[in-house]
Subunit: 120 residues, 2 copies
């Protein structure tokens, strides 16, 4: 007879449950202002520093390059960022927030605080 783990009693199991629930919570809150969960984090970084390259953003968010690339397309779609190729290095593109993105900061902060309440 092999040892049987009670998965439900493990930290990992509970953590896994929490993660999905929390991701849903972010999505629910941010959808109220027309955003998706992941997009917030890109905006946070760009509010701190505009004009990042994709690779910089990927590093700061600890995400893979294609993940960021796809996310940026979504942000361009809803008019929150623009991409501009660099003249000094034709490989990279720089990411710039639109005026709309700066305006949205307050709304995001509101939802973030509500999320914070729910999370506790």
């Amino acid at each position: 007879m092999t040892s049987r783990i009670k998965f439900e009693d493990t930290v990992s199991y509970r953590l896994a449950k929490v993660t999905t629930a929390f991701r849903n919570s972010i999505e629910r809150h941010m959808s109220r202002i027309g955003l998706h969960g992941g997009q917030i984090f890109a905006l946070l970084e760009l509010w701190k520093q505009d004009g990042l390259r994709q690779i910089d953003l990927a590093n700061r968010l600890s995400l893979a390059a294609p993940t960021v690339n796809k996310m940026l397309k979504g942000l361009i779609e809803i008019n929150l960022i623009t991409l501009a190729r660099q003249e000094d290095d034709a490989r990279s593109t720089r990411i710039y927030l639109t005026p709309l993105a700066y305006k949205m900061r307050e709304e995001v902060e509101e939802q973030w605080l509500e999320l914070e309440q729910d999370s506790l």
Copy 2:
């Protein structure tokens, strides 16, 4: 001047970081035995009780029906489950583990324990 949140200092922000890191960790561990992160949880439930309907599994995992449906296709693909239509109710299908799925339990438990170590 509007109040500016330091997102990095919020619980939600840190929790969000943890969620992605943890999901990656599950994926990394389970990929060693040819599984994906989400598939584990379906197996856990079916080890507890075989022959569930899709809707039952969805409820127990707190997942949407299409999510489960898609996941099951992946599990069929790697020969871990089979689906069988019910004769008493032609709407539902019952999910049955294959012998291979029962054999894999030990491997999964091993990886789960390693994951547990990493999570702490």
